[in-house]
């Protein structure tokens, strides 16, 4: 391939006699250092490099799918948790609202024996902080729209429309927590006003030793047995139970919710628990307050109820008469 004319031994010899220039040692060091830096100080064999390449390719291949899978799992978990959380208060609010709706109906009936589910509700409200007692001074809030089911549909009037309380017993003004809740509720979905019996139970449980309300006393504790199945199953506006949850401590709220479910399922047990909760001393105080307001008939009925519930209780002298 190489033309012999293009190679001259004399020229080659002469050229080899020319000075053999070499780069300075500092240039050598600079270039060698750059070469070492480029590949790292540790020599690496081809096998090691191939293994590193395989490892890198595995991680780069699976990084994206693993990230996506982790994101999907987290999102699904959160969704399920949120749905579960949504479902729980709705179930509870259904029972609470049904009880509130049926309470006025029960009020018209004669007082049942001391054990009642309303007392069980009082037990639930025992978890509430000792707030100011109900002060029924404002007129009953007129419901402007039928309660709305959680699904958004209006409840049939016969089942959900609150019964207007008797004029002789002004409906109590919602407590502070309830008023706060009212402000949050949309007007169209305004649920039935709280039943007097319910508020009364609340008063008993939250302020048993306090003085009776000055303006208008709360109605006597009405026996509120388990509502009819039709009402029990009727859904009620969700915020009603939500308000209860808001004013109760978190732990107490969940406990009371569980108790409430149990009580709804077993009325007798609920009555037993309720009568056990209502102390005779609180009852006595309540009867005294009734008498102080001149409501003798109710006081007498309450006294009889107290005697039935606590036959061995030694009545104070002023009530023993």
């Amino acid at each position: 391939m190489t033309d012999p004319d293009l190679r001259d031994p004399n020229l080659d010899r002469a050229y080899r006699e020319t000075p053999r220039d070499e780069p300075p040692s500092e240039v050598d060091e600079r270039i060698r250092a750059a070469a070492r830096r480029a590949v790292g100080t540790r020599p690496q064999s081809l096998e090691q490099q191939a293994a590193d390449e395989r490892r890198r390719s595995w991680t780069s291949r699976w990084r994206l799918p693993l990230s996506v899978a982790a994101t999907v799992v987290i999102a699904a978990t959160l969704t399920v948790m949120v749905q579960e959380e949504d479902r729980r208060p709705r179930d509870d609010s259904g029972r609470g609202a049904a009880r509130m709706d049926t309470a006025p109906l029960k009020k018209a009936q004669p007082a049942a024996p001391a054990a009642s589910s309303s007392d069980a509700a009082g037990d639930r409200l025992n978890q509430l902080p000792a707030a100011a007692p109900a002060q029924p001074s404002a007129p009953a809030p007129a419901p402007t729209a039928p309660p709305v089911q959680p699904s958004g549909r209006a409840v049939p009037k016969s089942a959900a429309e609150p019964v207007v309380p008797s004029p002789s017993i002004p409906p109590p003004q919602p407590k502070r927590e309830e008023r706060a809740f009212e402000a949050q509720r949309p007007a169209a979905a305004e649920p039935a006003p709280p039943a007097p019996a319910e508020l009364e139970m609340r008063w008993q449980s939250t302020a048993p030793a306090a003085a009776p309300p000055p303006a208008a006393p709360a109605p006597p504790p009405a026996a509120a047995p388990a509502p009819p199945p039709a009402l029990q199953s009727a859904p009620a506006p969700r915020p009603a139970a939500k308000a209860t949850q808001e004013i109760a401590p978190a732990g107490a709220a969940s406990g009371s919710l569980q108790r409430d479910r149990n009580l709804g399922d077993r009325p007798e047990r609920a009555s037993r628990e309720a009568s056990a909760v209502r102390s005779p001393e609180a009852w006595v105080e309540y009867i005294r307050s009734l008498r102080a307001q001149g409501r003798e008939t109710e006081a007498t009925a309450e006294l009889a109820e107290l005697r039935r519930a606590y036959p061995d209780f030694q009545l104070p002298a002023d009530l023993a008469r």
């Binding site: 391939m1 293009l6 001259d8 004399n10 050229y15 000075p19 070469a35 070492r36």
Partner: protein, 186 residues
């Protein structure tokens, strides 16, 4: 030093991370590259600067190296390209155009034999004659001497066809032979 291993294998080993392979390659070829640059620029400091650039380019290109040609061909291609970049950006840009070589009248530009001090200084005269060669012819000759490149490899390294490379080499050798003969005649 790794005397038994071919250049191409050493370069592949360096691309795989073997720094010692680079040291061996560098030791083998550093002088040839520097002398090539020194002959082409005529300036030692500039040659050293370009010399560093050439080896840094080789370091950067290690991962993409494929032994499709002789290693020295690839190395001197890098050196040639760096040299051309320098000429383009400098006042000697005209030298980039090797096509303008005044090939036939070079003999008149060669130093006269009587300009050399002593016959013992033949080597120095040769160097002077090399320096007096047109850049393209000089490059072809130096690549043949320093890089041990064939005509084809010179053509590859300098980016010309084989005939052009051959012609340049032939002209260069003719003139240099004449330079070497002159002192003998005188």
């Amino acid at each position: 030093m790794e005397p038994g291993r071919p250049d191409e294998e050493l370069m592949l080993a360096y691309g795989a991370g073997d720094a010692a392979a680079f040291d061996a390659l560098y030791a083998r070829h550093k002088g040839a590259v520097l002398r090539y640059l020194r002959r082409q620029t005529g300036n030692t400091a500039l040659a050293e600067e370009l010399f560093q650039d050439v080896w840094l380019k080789l370091i950067d290109a290690r991962a993409g190296y494929e032994p499709r040609a002789k290693f020295t061909t690839w190395l001197f291609t890098i050196a040639h390209n760096r040299l051309m970049d320098h000429f383009r950006s400098s006042a000697r840009g005209a030298l980039v155009s090797y096509e303008d070589d005044p090939a036939e009248d070079v003999a008149t530009d060669l130093p006269r034999p009587d300009q050399t001090a002593e016959r013992r200084e033949t080597a120095a005269q040769l160097l002077a004659a090399i320096d007096a060669l047109p850049a393209a012819q000089r490059e072809a000759f130096v690549l043949q001497q320093e890089g041990e490149l064939s005509v084809e490899e010179i053509a590859t390294a300098t980016g010309v066809n084989r005939e052009t490379a051959k012609s340049r080499l032939r002209y260069a050798m003719t003139k240099l032979r004449a330079t070497l003969r002159e002192p003998e005649r005188t």
